[in-house]
Symmetry: D2
Subunit: 337 residues, 4 copies
Amino acid sequence: MNVFLNDYNDLCHEEVYKKLASVREKANIGYGNDEYTNRAKELIKRDLKRDDIEIEFLAGGTIANIIGISANLMHYEGIIAVESGHIVGHEAGSIEATGHKVELIHSEDGKLSADALEERLEDFTEEYHIVPKVVYISQTTELGTVYSYEEIKSIYDVCLEHGLYLYIDGARMAVGLAASGMDVADLCEVCDIFTLGGTKNGALYGEALVVVEDELKQNLRNFMKQRGAVMAKGFVMGAQFEALFENGLYYELGKKAYNSSLKLAKAIEETKIEFYQTPKSNQIFIIYPTSKIEKLREQNLFEVSPYDKENKALRFVTTYKTTDEEIESLKNCLLEI
Amino acid sequence: MNVFLNDYNDLCHEEVYKKLASVREKANIGYGNDEYTNRAKELIKRDLKRDDIEIEFLAGGTIANIIGISANLMHYEGIIAVESGHIVGHEAGSIEATGHKVELIHSEDGKLSADALEERLEDFTEEYHIVPKVVYISQTTELGTVYSYEEIKSIYDVCLEHGLYLYIDGARMAVGLAASGMDVADLCEVCDIFTLGGTKNGALYGEALVVVEDELKQNLRNFMKQRGAVMAKGFVMGAQFEALFENGLYYELGKKAYNSSLKLAKAIEETKIEFYQTPKSNQIFIIYPTSKIEKLREQNLFEVSPYDKENKALRFVTTYKTTDEEIESLKNCLLEI
Amino acid sequence: MNVFLNDYNDLCHEEVYKKLASVREKANIGYGNDEYTNRAKELIKRDLKRDDIEIEFLAGGTIANIIGISANLMHYEGIIAVESGHIVGHEAGSIEATGHKVELIHSEDGKLSADALEERLEDFTEEYHIVPKVVYISQTTELGTVYSYEEIKSIYDVCLEHGLYLYIDGARMAVGLAASGMDVADLCEVCDIFTLGGTKNGALYGEALVVVEDELKQNLRNFMKQRGAVMAKGFVMGAQFEALFENGLYYELGKKAYNSSLKLAKAIEETKIEFYQTPKSNQIFIIYPTSKIEKLREQNLFEVSPYDKENKALRFVTTYKTTDEEIESLKNCLLEI
Amino acid sequence: MNVFLNDYNDLCHEEVYKKLASVREKANIGYGNDEYTNRAKELIKRDLKRDDIEIEFLAGGTIANIIGISANLMHYEGIIAVESGHIVGHEAGSIEATGHKVELIHSEDGKLSADALEERLEDFTEEYHIVPKVVYISQTTELGTVYSYEEIKSIYDVCLEHGLYLYIDGARMAVGLAASGMDVADLCEVCDIFTLGGTKNGALYGEALVVVEDELKQNLRNFMKQRGAVMAKGFVMGAQFEALFENGLYYELGKKAYNSSLKLAKAIEETKIEFYQTPKSNQIFIIYPTSKIEKLREQNLFEVSPYDKENKALRFVTTYKTTDEEIESLKNCLLEI
């Protein structure tokens, strides 16, 4: 079976698993005050070339978004995001459940543009509006598209001009770095707070929340505790992130997944099947006849979403485990069915 | 070093670790729809002798309390708990953050009594009061005390009479079962919803939320998703709970911790040092001169909290890993210092 | 000066003012348990031809929407409304502040259609979506358009089929009744909960919230109290609504405002100036050159909103106080400027 | 009938009623941007001897508390109040509904002391605690007791030292000023935000929220709008407060109520009936045999609350309308029954 299902179907990378073994025989300090967590934080700070940032580890993407977005918001403040944003349609109203409204911007390719943001901000001038405070984007986006450094920077310039925080959801940041050619240290220059996703890049679970802006660091741990986001055995996440960052494994896995996505895109292109979105990262979407899906599923794992009466949108996800054989096999299936 | 620090300082039990190994080579289905999670749920249902219950796995104790307590509450409904309840003083206002007030009852030993509950309910009769809806207790309590089956049943009878849900926080339920002599299946008879804590009983992380009452099952998964409580790699928890429940390991570990606590209580009794609370489970509290603590720490790990000008309350926690040598060694330290 | 500013610029209707005088010399019971409030409720029940409804009086439109919409919602439930809905863009995130997400439907004329609702509901099928529970519409709409009885009924049929509540924001219901030709008693047949706005129809302040559906009545007073919506001197609202409903004044004022709007629409039509929306009720919008607005303001009060580079959208509102002279004078201004 | 029921049973003071008449014939600007509201704000600023304060008018005491307390709170911040505080037991969980926990302090006389506050603050040092941010007191208290200027100042000193805001609920501030001998301008020196209650002192409804601290002024109007606290016809409140403050009527009515309370206290003292709390302001509580209450009610209006098996606590409230005859008559009833 060729596995293009998603990027969170394996237990974890071998190095992560080995690191956990080393944790076994100790009496570790709780709540993330342990040596593993401390080392993991130092390693990430080293890569980010910043000492003055706060790093916290959170168990999953949605709780990371909740914490990172609503950390220091006043009741009347709101968030701006594109309509296809993960927080808009895939988190069951998680942000609204914190009491904050998410104001929407339409986007064809899943990306926010600085111009669209600038224009949208003009809508919030009256006392009967929310006060915009956080701009949400993700790298990569829900549609698999990717921001360049310049694009993020131009969004951030608008944010700075208007007193807004920029939050980058990095559930797939490892691939995002590979695809955009950005260095991880660049991130600190173009936003206030972001995540480095582990769950979709070799960890059992866990996202690193990186807080650059001082105001967002205030009592962050109390807020995490309040939302059930502090893990008693924080060292389990600390150990995983130590494994991911001590020798660049995090970036390497992202590159592998990205490189496989390039190969997969080329392979699909050769089948002449239409893409739903031009492939840019490890989520590749095609438009495919509903009638043929059953057959395709016999040898391939992938996700399906609605498209039109006769076709569906299929999503193929590559990961650091994807093999050339799987890509070749999928290509053959697409050609033959 | 004798480890009496807490019950969440090791990675996990060996059997749990082995089970994780078996997960490694598969493409697992996400969000808890995998085979491990399904088997774990079936195993727990077998032990609970009930097919009509819903079981969900949550990453930690606070998020489990948030989900279990506020699942199906209306805005005007509130919770009743004793002043020393974990949700009252140790979760940074997590329940209030869901919009619900926690009304307090004073208790000397950390336990709620049916009589105290009955009396307190008389305070909520007016439209300017919250409408009580959930009663929160924990087994074992924050002070290490333990409810008998009859005690919980009498609380539940009051709940049933007044249309309230009874929620039992079972972060330490494995020890609670051993200490109370209750069978796990008894729990379904005396409450509406409860947790079986894994984090403090051999898991890397994870609590099983068991929902007995039908009304509390409604759209529970949507609510979990909204609060960031659905794990993408749900199979990691599923596998752990399969390991804990397939051969009774969960209960066995609880008994070990409890048996060690009996030995520790006896050992301390022999030193004539005063207990802060009569020992009932694996958290044992003594009153100890502040001046001697530093010395005691040289060979022992434990937690300290305020007591009076010259003394502190020390907490010693036994776990399934506690050895007789550690207990003997601690006793000797207490005698000699 | 011709007053087309809005429908809430006068103190109150003369009959309302007189009624207040009668309250002066008594020791009235607080919190809406007084004789005036009781009589007002009975009068409204009489007109609605229903005894089994609950009526509460609330100080303003936004608090009435908050109470009426989120009264008995679970945390994971959400609201559906058109993009131009008052709760979407004019209440500073009031509904989201209760923790509930508002899902949007696009509409050109400000009205929701049964078909659009039916189609939109298909989007909420997964556990990572909110669970739709309340449909929000207003009669009249923000754009001055009006629902017919049949249109509301077809929306309500969809609601009933999907287990949703239909809430009608009736801030301008008096005009809505006149414009739609509906009898007030019809409302109980086609929705679960609605308001009869007083503020914009002759009261100093106050909206009657009418709860038809039994489930929405549960502990409604506690919820109102919690949101600061119970007035100590409830009798002040009770007296006003008694005045409005004892002799049909409420409907009469709505008809007057509506009849004036018909005249105003005809007058503007004669000027050949383009309408922004076809006039349907007492809010009439025209597209007008920005350059001429200053001059128009010399003799007329109205509101202005953005339209395009050279034009603005002007809103003229008629009320029960609007005179034929004002309409004639505005027409002349429009012709002459 | 002698009316000691409460201080919100009349329509309003004659001067307030007259002022409303003057509003009738104008087209007033909405949402509190009118001339009456502007003048009322200027008058209060004059009395407070401060130009740099923000004043907003809110419809009732609970909504004023919601707005004033949670205005600029972060999610993890909490409130400290005495157990008998109005927000604790009489507002149906209104503060918790904003997501913030209220931490309690025990008090025999309903007053918070600086020492008790200082001591209680020591409890909030860990990340699993809320971060205290607002201290709530009321002048006068729920038990009718009164703070001196020095007492409030000493509480405020503790607040300043710990970075807390002090909020004073002034639902009965007019009597509070009379009873404490404080000048209204003193308030700006000893707290960050407070209310001047109108509902219980001659208005139809309305509380003036006075914001001294700059941080609390940020986007206050947006927050008010979000909570349904902005009245469309704001001028109705503006006019009332103009009437109350243009010639010192507000203070005069408070003094009348207070002076009557002194007479009533003396009258009751002469009956040798036991007070529940030593009388300090216009709420006077006595302990009274349950068996005699029915008879007492024949000529007197008052409120009753539980005390012990054979007695109840009766509350007698004086207002600016209380007459010497009513006091004399009540005294005679108490003596004769």
